[in-house]
């Protein structure tokens, strides 16, 4: 896909989705998990910020997929895996919130909370686009900025943009309405842009 400055970017997500759909019929469950585990780990790590917890979440997701959905058609595995993974990540966040409440600590930022982060962020759309894209290309910066997003925004961005799921599948994986997915994605992109410009 060509951009304004004439450079070409590989449309990674859609290509990945197409590749998955095209070859999924010939994949074994082992091969599917081998292809998905790295992305799943990265997603869980961004959400939890703890390597051990991220590995636990990925293991649980793998185990559940193998135990309950092995016999399902191969084409359903990616969505089922994401659904299980996102549920485990959400459960982990709920447990953390409970523990924090128990020890009188401040709860983790959540989209469902009253404070709207958008209202707190200055609209900085006129920032330097070259610097913005440069920062968006730095792995450490991107992971840090993504980790700061509220969970629902993180999930909407990861599933909708990175995994390339459609709105209905993203809503199904996040267990929310399609309207919520669009709202979370909009907020996520707004927050990401502002955070990258502020870096």
């Amino acid at each position: 896909m060509a951009t304004a400055d004439g450079r070409f970017y590989t449309p990674c997500i859609s290509a990945h989705a197409i590749r998955m759909t095209a070859t999924i019929t010939s994949l074994t469950l082992d091969a599917f998990l081998a292809a998905a585990e790295g992305r799943a780990y990265r997603m869980a790590l961004v959400a939890t910020r703890r390597s051990a917890d991220a590995l636990d979440i990925v293991q649980d997701a793998m185990l559940q997929l193998v135990q309950h959905y092995r016999a399902r058609p191969h084409s359903e595995w990616p969505l089922l895996f994401q659904r299980i993974l996102q549920r485990r990540i959400t459960d982990w966040h709920r447990q953390q919130t409970q523990q924090r409440r128990w020890f009188w600590q401040a709860p983790i930022a959540d989209d469902e909370m009253d404070d709207d982060p958008i209202a707190q962020i200055e609209d900085s759309r006129d920032g330097n686009p070259v610097a913005l894209l440069e920062r968006a290309g730095d792995i450490e910066t991107v992971l840090e900025v993504l980790a700061q997003l509220p969970l629902r925004q993180q999930q909407a961005f990861m599933l909708r943009v990175w995994e390339g799921l459609d709105v209905a599948d993203t809503a199904s994986a996040m267990q929310c309405g399609e309207g919520s997915v669009k709202t979370h994605l909009f907020r996520a992109l707004h927050t990401l842009r502002a955070a990258l410009l502020a870096e």
């Binding site: 970017y9 082992d30 990265r42 193998v66 135990q67 894209l133 792995i139 992109l189 842009r193």
Partner: protein, 114 residues
């Protein structure tokens, strides 16, 4: 970025470029995972697959054992009933009064002598 997103105008042209760059960066972050993490993920995958295999083997064995039990129980019950009948017949023979047997032997002996 998927064409679906573009179609639904969820992302503005400016954000599209940003989203594209971010996805590319995330892809790179997966490609650059360290060897230790990759090895641990592979171990977890093998454990998940093998644990499932073991559990399936146990389930198959349990089902087979149940089937064998269901099929063999009536046969055992029937055999047990036959053994009980035979035993009761033996007992019936043993229940004959020994005195009567002695009398019969004595009468037989007298008869032979005469």
């Amino acid at each position: 970025m998927s064409d679906d997103i573009e179609r639904q105008h969820e992302i503005s042209a400016r954000d599209r470029e940003l989203a594209q760059r971010l996805t590319h960066t995330l892809d790179r972050s997966v490609d650059t995972l360290d060897a230790d993490t990759r090895a641990r993920l592979a171990a977890l995958r093998h454990a998940a697959l093998s644990r499932s295999r073991t559990q399936r083997a146990i389930a198959v064995f349990a089902i087979a054992a149940s089937l064998v039990a269901v099929i063999s129980l009536p046969w055992f019950a029937h055999r047990h009933a036959m053994t009980t009948v035979a035993a009761s017949e033996d007992m019936a023979y043993l229940n004959v009064d020994p005195q009567m047997l002695e009398d019969m032997d004595m009468l037989q002996a007298i008869g032979e002598r005469e």
